[in-house]
């Protein structure tokens, strides 16, 4: 069992976004969370949350300057949970087209693209700010519920979550897509999961009771993961 004093969740602080609402949501569901930019603390935590709001290039530059890009890749390569939220989800991808072309962390193959500003020829506002439903991706070959056992376990189909973004991710592999949402003419990937890496475009910490349910699922995943370690 890991050190009782170590934090269950490390929230990566690279100067972007509202880390505090993430921390408060963690605490609300009983997770011990720390906001940190220390590689040591990040590597000692059972789960790592990469949050973020802001510009892609600045975020990548800051992560590199703080020597955190490689630390986050190490977390992804380990068995510990890595959760990207909003810009944090986009940073997991290979590259972004936000104001030019910028390399991402390359943890999930795929690209970050600009949201459309049209729907059926009519203008729509960008950024996409507000509550939009999340849906299971189009029918999978298997009949199992893709949300079962994920951080969306027991979330209602079509549940509105809070989004604030101008760009969205397009993973190379469709089978990592956990949910889709629509804005303008685009149906985009609003959450994804691949092994120990999971991410969402929406802000569960700002999505009311449904969002807190996502945090409860994360707490569940963290505790079952550490139980598995105990039994090994």
């Amino acid at each position: 069992m890991s050190n009782e004093n170590s934090h269950q969740v490390a929230i990566v602080d690279y100067g972007m976004g509202n880390l505090y609402s993430v921390k408060h949501a963690c605490q609300h569901v009983g997770l011990r969370a720390v906001i940190t930019s220390s590689a040591e603390e990040i590597l000692a935590a059972r789960a790592v949350i990469l949050p973020g709001v802001g510009a892609y290039r600045d975020a990548m530059e800051t992560l590199s300057r703080l020597d955190l890009a490689s630390v986050i890749r190490d977390v992804a390569a380990s068995a510990r949970l890595l959760v990207g939220i909003c810009l944090g989800m986009q940073l997991l991808m290979s590259e972004s087209e936000e104001y030019g072309r910028h390399e991402g962390l390359g943890i999930v193959p795929g690209r970050v693209l600009k949201l459309p500003d049209r729907e059926h020829g009519q203008p729509v506002k960008v950024p996409h700010i507000g509550w939009t439903g999340i849906h299971r991706p189009p029918a999978q070959p298997t009949s199992t519920d893709p949300w079962h056992g994920s951080f969306l376990d027991d979330v209602a189909e079509g549940e509105p979550m809070y989004f604030v973004h101008s760009y969205f991710v397009k993973p190379e592999r469709a089978d990592v897509v956990l949910s889709t949402s629509s804005y303008g003419d685009e149906s985009f990937c609003s959450s994804l999961t691949r092994g120990n890496v999971m991410a969402c475009q929406f802000h569960p910490e700002r999505s009311g009771p449904a969002g807190l349910h996502v945090y409860r699922n994360l707490a569940q995943l963290i505790s079952s993961e550490s139980k598995e370690k105990l039994s090994e």
């Binding site: 505090y20 101008s166 700002r206 009771p209």
Partner: protein
């Protein structure tokens, strides 16, 4: 796209206050109590606006923000007296998700660009307090609707969007606190001229007013104060809620304050909008007080 209903809480010292045309502020109670009530009743976001910070250059709001952010899991926008990137950073560190700037942005428009670049465009709401002149034109006001600037509100809206604002909150000074309905023409003209979302504020007195500013004003969100506050206050009083001792509370006892405002709630407003074809987020029936 679901329209957002956003309770706006104007704060002076430790109290929730409300005036008419931004003047004659009455104390309504503790902002945290109203914030919790609105969260539990399906508010889509909250706005905290410091009613005096612009005038006195202080930020007494941050303690309230900090406490609120721990128990309210919807987006919180904080404004009033934020003058610099450091001020914005303090608000975000206290738990705000977005900040709203007006006075400092008019004084130095580049602040919008710098803030948007530093914190992300979607974090920066530019608040426009639009006052209609007798010739029908609109002027942007500053310092909580008190001071004129000579800046045309429509030109300023376009400029603010170009400088990188993520959203605009457009409040009609003429309608603010009156309950006479929104200035639909003002919001429609601004919403049609910028590519970013627009929040309408100032004038909500009934569900029909909210409907009109969404259906005809073309806005993405509506900020509502008195219409919700007076209804919540009545519910609190019925529940024997402690009234605050600071400020003007006499009108509470007279019970005449809410005549200009329909009996309603966030749920009732959303039910009304949905009946008329406007999409809203409805809270799950099972929302619990423990949340």
């Amino acid at each position: 796209m679901k329209v957002r209903l956003i309770p706006r809480l104007d704060i002076k010292g430790p109290n929730l206050v409300k005036g008419i045309h931004f003047e004659g502020l009455r104390v309504l109670g503790k902002p945290e109590d109203f914030a919790r009530d609105y969260y539990e009743h399906g508010a889509d976001e909250l706005i905290y606006m410091d009613a005096v910070a612009s005038l006195y250059g202080r930020n007494s709001l941050l303690d309230i923000v900090e406490r609120t952010s721990r128990e309210i899991f919807i987006p919180l926008t904080v404004g009033g007296g934020l003058r610099s990137l450091d001020d914005i950073r303090s608000a975000l560190r206290a738990g705000a998700d977005k900040v709203s700037i007006n006075t400092a942005a008019i004084a130095r428009p580049e602040l919008i660009r710098e803030a948007s670049r530093t914190f992300g465009a979607s974090t920066i709401v530019v608040s426009i307090e639009a006052n209609q002149r007798s010739d029908g034109s609109y002027e942007a006001y500053v310092n909580y609707g008190r001071d004129s600037t000579g800046v045309d509100a429509f030109e300023w809206a376009i400029r603010a969007a170009e400088l990188g604002a993520g959203e605009l909150m457009v409040t009609s000074v003429n309608r603010e606190g009156t309950g006479k309905g929104f200035d639909v023409d003002l919001t429609r003209r601004i919403a049609a001229s910028v590519p970013i979302p627009v929040i309408a504020g100032g004038g909500a007195g009934s569900a029909a007013h909210v409907h009109d500013v969404v259906a005809q004003g073309g806005v993405n969100a509506v900020a509502i104060a008195s219409l919700l506050h007076y209804n919540s206050m009545r519910r609190f009083q019925e529940a024997n809620h402690d009234a605050t001792s600071e400020g003007n509370v006499e009108f509470l006892r007279r019970g005449t304050a809410s005549k200009r405002f329909e009996d309603t709630s966030i749920d009732a407003l959303k039910t009304y909008l949905t009946r008329y074809g406007i999409e809203c987020r409805h809270r799950p029936e099972a929302i619990a007080h423990v949340e």
